[in-house]
């Protein structure tokens, strides 16, 4: 399993809000164990999906000293089971956006129902820590279809 937990960005206002989508197919190996005969998406994976969506919203802005990384989870609530192959809409609204940290209120929605929500806290890890020249493929795909949304280099 690759650890890209956002398939596609649907709406993006860099540094402010994002809506993205993810489907975990039943063929994913994790469903063999979580749980046998009762496959559901783990809460930690749902949380990571929301974090990856919010992180991309922050990274898309291009103004921070590094890449947004999840630092803290505040009050995550899991309300409904999410089954394999269900379309999961990921919503994040950035509530604080400072050079050293950011916070986001996030939720995941399936078939019109909120299945989980969390307040997430992000720190920024310097770009030098990552592979040189790495570019996020999900953001690149979004910018390919929304070229005007791409921030201009400073």
């Amino acid at each position: 399993m690759r650890f890209i937990l956002v398939d596609r960005i649907l709406e993006l206002e860099p540094g402010k809000r994002i809506t993205a989508i993810k489907v975990l197919p039943v063929s994913e190996e994790l469903f063999r164990d979580h749980f046998p005969g009762f496959p559901v998406v783990p809460g930690v994976i749902l949380t990571e999906m929301m974090a990856q969506a919010a992180g991309r919203c922050l990274d898309a802005e291009g103004t921070h000293p590094g890449r947004a990384m999840l630092g803290k989870i505040n009050g995550a609530i899991f309300r409904e089971w999410v089954k394999p192959d269900q379309e999961i809409l990921l919503h994040a609204t950035i509530t604080q956006n400072r050079p050293a940290y950011a916070t986001a209120e996030c939720c995941a929605e399936v078939e019109g129902k909120t299945v989980c929500s969390a307040g997430l806290f992000f720190v920024f890890v310097p770009y030098e820590r990552f592979a040189a020249g790495h570019q996020d493929e999900v953001l690149l795909a979004y910018w390919k279809t929304h070229p005007d949304a791409r921030p201009k280099p400073i």
């Binding site: 630092g71 803290k72 604080q96 050293a100 940290y101 806290f121 720190v123």
Partner: protein, 78 residues
Amino acid sequence: MTQTESVAWIAQVFEMTPDQLTPDTHRDNVPAWDSLGVLTLMASLDSDFGIVMTDEDIQAVKTVCDILDVMRRHGKLG
């Protein structure tokens, strides 16, 4: 906000109970007062009181009393 209320607020930021902190408590004795804790403190001061800590504040804050001083300077502590 009174000093007692402020200490209780600081305790909540660092996931402690108010009786575990006094103004003299040093950051070395607060397990959650690490680099992430500093950012959490900054975010909480910002969201709850509209206080944006300066780089000097961040360097200077070593005890609960130092945080109270920041709050006092911004008029949030009576």
